[in-house]
């Protein structure tokens, strides 16, 4: 793992009228790192993430994602990142295969590349039986795993995951994190928000947002030391309750 920063954020702020959703946050994320982005509901995680993926323009501050500026080159950022949202993001009324073709196509993959990727995916995830099923008919766990793989179709430098394991059973959650590890090992940076504190323990580094600010940022081990807590759960409770 080299030490190149793929996300650089400085004093990034987003205001909606009088309300400051994200209040001058600063951090860096290295290549191949699994970066946990934690915070209570309404702490500003999603808003911050939307600025980084180029669908929300910051009010002030600066941020570079994959060497592109969020103010001036949001469309270039989009070519280099993958995103999997809280809301399920594949088309329910298309089959698994059609979804792969569509997303591969709009990321500019050639027919041949799409075909190869699809075979690889079917192999890895064991999709042989369901590749021609409508996505809407699949269980949530499957949908999330496929959604994750589809977000990686174009080999992005960074993948943003917004609560990817919400509502998923523990077994699938474990499989999902195995996929995340594998992705990070291949050099893709993983930026993940979650409400599961056991998942926070799996991250290389974790930041915790409270009321629009980053109140803590370090490795899980150091955070536990710093807050004299046994688990990340206690760390989170101490911070979030103020």
């Amino acid at each position: 793992m080299n030490n190149k920063n793929v996300i650089k954020v400085e004093n990034l702020t987003k205001k909606f009228g009088d309300f400051t959703a994200v209040n001058s946050i600063s951090f860096e994320v290295k290549k191949g790192e699994i970066f946990g982005f934690l915070g209570a509901n309404g702490a500003g995680k999603t808003t911050a993430m939307k600025m980084l993926i180029g669908i929300s323009t910051p009010t002030s501050g600066s941020a570079q994602v994959a060497d592109f500026d969020v103010f001036t080159n949001p469309e270039d950022i989009k070519k280099n990142i993958g995103y999997m949202s809280q809301k399920f993001a594949l088309y329910d009324d298309l089959t698994v295969k059609e979804n792969i073709t569509f997303f591969g196509g709009i990321y500019g993959l050639s027919r041949k590349q799409i075909e190869e990727k699809r075979c690889l995916l079917v192999e890895e995830l064991g999709l042989q039986d369901i590749v021609n099923e409508l996505v809407g008919s699949l269980p949530l766990g499957w949908k999330q795993k496929i959604s994750f793989s589809v977000a990686l179709l174009h080999n992005p430098k960074i993948i943003f995951l917004d609560e990817p394991t919400g509502g998923v059973d523990p077994i699938t959650r474990r499989q999902f994190w195995e996929m995340i590890y594998k992705t990070a090992n291949n050099g893709t940076t993983v930026f993940v928000t979650t409400h599961y504190m056991d998942e926070a323990e799996y991250c290389d580094r974790v930041s915790i947002m409270v009321d629009g600010k980053i109140e803590a940022l370090d490795t899980p081990t150091k955070l536990k030391e710093q807050f004299k807590a046994d688990t990340m759960n206690d760390v989170f409770l101490k911070l979030a309750r103020g």
Binding site: I53, G54, I55, S56, T57, P74, E75, D76, K78, K79, I81, Y83, S85, Q86, K87, F88, A89, L90, Y91, D92, D93, L94, E98, T101, F102, F103, G105, I106, Y107, G108
Partner: protein
Amino acid sequence: MKTIGYIIQKEFKQIFRNKGMLPIIFILPLLQLVILSNAATFEIKNIKFSYIDNDNTSFSRALIDKFEASTYFNVVSNFPSEKIASSAMLKGEVDVILEIPHYFERDLLKDKKTDLSVIINAIDGAAAGVENVYINQIVQGFNKNAQATLIQPSDLINQPKNISSITSFWYNETLNYKTFMVPGILVLLVTMITLFLSGMNIVREKEIGTLEQMNVTPIRKHEFIIGKLFPFWIIGFGLLTIGLIISKVIFNTPIIGNLGLVYFYTAFYLLVILGMGLFISNFTDTQQQAMFIAWFFVVIFILMSGLFTPIESMPKWAQNLTEFNPIKYFVEVMRMVMLKGADFNDILPQFLKTLGYAIIMNGLAVWSYKKTS
């Protein structure tokens, strides 16, 4: 370009996979075309006619026979007094009361002049006006016959020359109301379906959350919009084609002009409607909102399109407003080309306005569609 292809492919799959939507897109509009064209008629027929014959002579009966012979009037009653007739009118049993005075025949023979009283239910003013014209025509016809029988040879020299007008009805010789309505209703259906579908399409992706996913992809704005709207453009043509076939086969509507011109104009007209749909979906968050707004505009556009009521009889300010109504131009073009055989030069004003409208509408739509908020 390749990206657009992928989007179009996806859209078509989604549209044709939606088993609930397919009949709404293709079957309902055509049912409406068949039903509306037959039902939405302003022809005044089957007028409930009644009379009070105070004279009861061969002359008065001849006059009533004339009404009975008319296809417009159904002679429903013969009232003994005006009071009973009035109460029947109040109950809606009759539309017209003709009162023939006492000594009708005698006065006509003696004075060559007499009066008839006609009472018309005028709650629907337009219908009452038409009924009045019909009654006058019949009475005048009766008048002429009566003159012919009454005139003495000696009077002949003093008679003023009779001036009569001979009317010829152009473009719709048989005054078939359907010929007038079918092209217009076809416009309405093509417009409604494409506007509703395009208006709800993008907002639907907003609702299910896939639009956010699209906005995170490097897809370009114009690629997304073209890819999204193209399928509805094609569906618009599909509807027009099926509608034209129905109007020819079922209603035998004449198609005098060049159909190519109709399609050429429709190509640009659909851009206006699709741009409008996209514009609406950019400003709404749910399909329900989009539907309400689209519906609001459609109702105004339809009522002010000249489809049901002539624009010429609207107040001046309303006439000015209709300049902003794309449906008006399409209705005009359809009627001109199909019924009058108009060529491109004839529809040039409508075409240019539609083209301008398309540019403005799509400009607004593209401008208001934002990948970044």
